[in-house]
């Protein structure tokens, strides 16, 4: 059965047939044809953003919170280039995202036409794949293929750029599409049995194993399998910034987050291990520090769905290409088989690690200037909101504190820009998450710098009744940059003062600004006001809430491994390296 449709109608119909229920976008000249049938769709909710970057991050937040595909739409030229940051972000963090952009008429491509930009060319290095569509009849197959590529294998962003005349042309639409657009795309999901067997043998030979868990476990939905594996072998677990929530923080086997601002037990556990059981992680420089001295005595099992990640930074003794969910389940089964009911004993390793946990718990101090400690604010948000809530952070100190001082028990509850480090991610990502999971409490924990990059989406939230909660951790500065200036640039604070604190010019006044956007806006300066404000925010669901927490600017993120330095040099607090026993 075929039906005569325009290319534009085919875009909408294909999205509906592929199960897309929400798109974030902003119309313009070259995408106008597609916005017309979109108006009539009863299956797709379009949320009109105020800036295309907001649409991109909202699609990411939608995807990261739900595990489903996030979709954003923009027009050609600047509309499309405004998506670039979000596309790059999704690429770094393996977020399944479809970006649809309008393009000028096909005969005008290459003529420097009005609002023309070569967005396929611009995004080539930051997409998993991209399509330029100049014929209406290619649309169904391209849409199906784009979504397949975005959501399978290692997920990532796919761009579909559609010329305006292809949107307007009529053709005979049929479903499912028969034309194969991408014969070269064949992700491997099932591992080699022999490799799994070898991994199990290596685990049982090791005395100091550690599970190095990355964001791939969350993307694969493999948290239950991970839990079963961890319980079977009793090994310590570390969850990277991208993997917070993949393993419950409340579990005693959890050592916390590794890396530049990781816990001492997690950082040191990796350094001293004799085996890294690496699951969906990619040896990012923020985790390894100086690679040459990272976990020097350890063998490596590396499980990843992307073959190119294996051996990219660190040699893998046992490489396993496959879907984390499948591999971890098989590995657990294989270990059960090899153990034959015997217990795998690593109690000596644990007595060392427990010592570290007791001596070096995460903590923070009150500030000399009597201002609110930012860590306290974030900790209370986590405690009062609980592990069912979703937390999206921007980038910087508040992001690290949110990763450290909120307890995550569930996957897809911690959203952040890990790889790209995109300031401005939090508000639109929280918006997208709230749209995907309307029954969940969704917090954006943001900095005063980040907030000023994308706060225009508060208008989108208010108009579309998306009642997110925003906590601005307002230290009146670009806090992480300032921390580095404190530590490495002799306290020369070059261009990090933002003048948003209550003892400054307060430009802008976040309470007035948020009020203007139709939000409930609250300012908190004292410890005793913190809980009441958080509770009021949680009770208010008829509009977004913004709390401007005025915090001290001298608080720093600890522990810390300075950039490019060996993880052996982790500092628990300023000038306080952990004291190692004996020859350690």
């Amino acid at each position: 059965m075929t039906e005569t449709l325009s290319g534009a109608q085919a875009i909408i119909r294909s999205l509906e047939l592929l199960g897309v229920d929400t798109v974030f976008g902003l119309p313009g000249g070259a995408i106008l044809p597609t916005y017309d049938p979109l108006m009539d769709s009863s299956k797709i909710r379009h949320i009109l953003v105020r800036h295309e970057q907001g649409a991109g991050h909202a699609a990411e937040g939608y995807a990261a919170a739900s595990g489903r595909l996030g979709v954003c739409i923009a027009t050609s030229g600047p509309g499309a280039t405004n998506l670039v940051t979000a596309i790059a972000d999704a690429h770094m963090d393996s977020v399944p995202m479809l970006a649809i952009t309008g393009q000028v008429n096909s005969h005008a491509i290459g003529t420097d036409a009005f609002q023309e930009a070569d967005i396929v060319g611009i995004t080539m290095p930051i997409t998993k794949h991209s399509f330029l569509v100049t014929k209406a009849e290619d649309i169904p197959a391209v849409m199906a293929s784009a979504i397949e590529i975005a959501t399978t294998g290692r997920p990532g962003p796919v761009l579909v750029d559609v010329a305006k005349d292809a949107q307007n042309a009529k053709f005979e639409f049929s479903w499912p599409p028969t034309k194969e657009m991408t014969p070269g795309y064949k992700p491997v999901t099932d591992p080699h049995g022999k490799q799994v067997q070898a991994a199990a043998e290596l685990i049982l030979q090791s005395k100091k194993p550690i599970l190095y868990v990355g964001g791939g476990v969350i993307r694969a939905g493999a948290h239950k399998e991970l839990h079963k594996l961890a319980k079977l072998i009793g090994a310590p677990v570390t969850t990277t910034l991208m993997a917070r929530g993949a393993y419950p923080d409340s579990d005693p086997q959890h050592l916390g987050m590794p890396g530049m601002h990781g816990t001492v037990p997690a950082v040191t556990g990796l350094q001293k291990a004799d085996l890294l059981i690496t699951l969906g992680a990619r040896f990012d420089d923020r985790v390894t520090g100086d690679v040459k001295t990272f976990a020097k005595g350890a063998k490596v099992i590396h499980v990843d769905i992307d073959p190119a990640e294996i051996g990219k930074i660190r040699h893998a003794d046992v490489p396993i290409v496959g879907d984390a969910k499948v591999v971890i389940a098989m590995l657990t089964q294989e270990l059960e088989k090899q153990l034959k009911g015997k217990k795998y004993d690593i109690s000596e390793w644990w007595s060392y690690l427990i010592g570290l946990k007791e001596r070096y718990p995460l903590g923070y101090n009150d500030l000399d200037d009597g201002k609110l400690a930012p860590q306290y604010v974030i900790e209370r948000i986590g405690q009062l909101s609980g592990p069912e809530a979703i937390y999206a952070a921007g980038v910087g100190q508040h992001q690290m504190w949110s990763a450290q001082f909120i307890n995550y028990e569930n996957p897809n509850t911690w959203l952040n820009s890990g790889g790209a480090g995109t300031m401005g991610y939090a508000v639109p990502a929280a918006m997208g998450a709230k749209v995907a999971m309307p029954e969940k409490l969704v917090w954006a924990i943001d900095g005063d710098g980040c907030f000023q990059m994308t706060n225009q989406e508060l208008a989108t939230c208010t108009i579309n009744q998306i009642p997110i909660k925003v906590a601005i951790i307002n230290n009146s500065s670009l806090g992480m940059v300032r921390q580095w200036q404190t530590l490495f640039y002799n306290k020369r604070y070059s261009n990090t003062d933002l003048h948003t604190g209550t003892d400054t010019q307060m430009v802008p006044d976040f309470v007035k600004l948020s009020d203007a956007y139709g939000c409930l806006a609250i300012r908190v300066e004292k410890v005793e006001e913190v809980d009441a404000a958080i509770k009021l925010a949680m009770e208010t669901n008829d509009r977004p809430v913004v709390i401007d927490f005025i915090v001290g600017r001298d608080a720093m993120v600890w522990p810390m491994v300075p950039a490019g330095v060996s993880n052996d040099a982790v500092q628990y607090a300023r000038d306080a390296a952990p004291i190692w026993d004996g020859e350690e």
Binding site: G184, G311, K312
Partner: protein, 168 residues
């Protein structure tokens, strides 16, 4: 630094050359030469890429290339089981006194003269890169006015075809 010859079957789609070349550029891989053309199969192009690398990164190169959706297959063509040829056109200065020496070199290298004027000749030569380099060396004393070279193209020895399994 070691040289490797990679043969890529790719979909003949707009932008594929950019995708491959840009990947090399952004990952810091070093291209010695790149040649691209159609194949026996419609819609499929073949690229021969000569890369200058060491053992470990070659695996990274092929893995990263494999991630490009339009790349269908990659094989490394080893020296002893494949043949590689460069094609070169060279314009050499000649006069009555040197022409015969140049023509002698042409014969020795099994090259061909394809254009002659009073003060120069254009010579075509095919061969592996060592032969082309040697030929250039021989011609240099006469004065090379212009030189253009294709990248290497390469194919495996024996009856097996690279495209057999990929393209049903």
């Amino acid at each position: 630094m070691s040289q490797h010859v990679l043969s890529l079957l790719v979909e003949d789609k707009p932008g594929i050359l950019t995708r491959v070349a840009a990947l090399f550029a952004r990952r810091g891989f070093n291209i010695e030469s790149l040649a691209v053309g159609t194949t026996e199969v419609e819609g499929v192009s073949r690229m021969t890429v000569v890369v200058n690398l060491d053992g470990q990164p070659l695996e990274q190169v092929t893995k990263q290339l494999n991630k490009l959706v339009n790349v269908l297959k990659i094989v490394e063509l080893e020296d002893d089981s494949s043949v590689a040829r460069d094609h070169m056109l060279v314009k050499v200065r000649t006069d009555a006194s040197t022409r015969s020496q140049v023509l002698e070199a042409v014969t020795l290298f099994r090259a061909r003269v394809i254009d002659v004027v009073s003060d120069s000749v254009v010579i075509e030569v095919t061969g592996d890169s060592a032969k082309c380099k040697a030929f250039i060396k021989v011609l240099e004393p006469f004065g090379i006015k212009e030189l253009v070279q294709s990248g290497a193209i390469a194919i495996s020895r024996g009856s097996k075809s690279m495209s057999e399994k990929v393209l049903k």
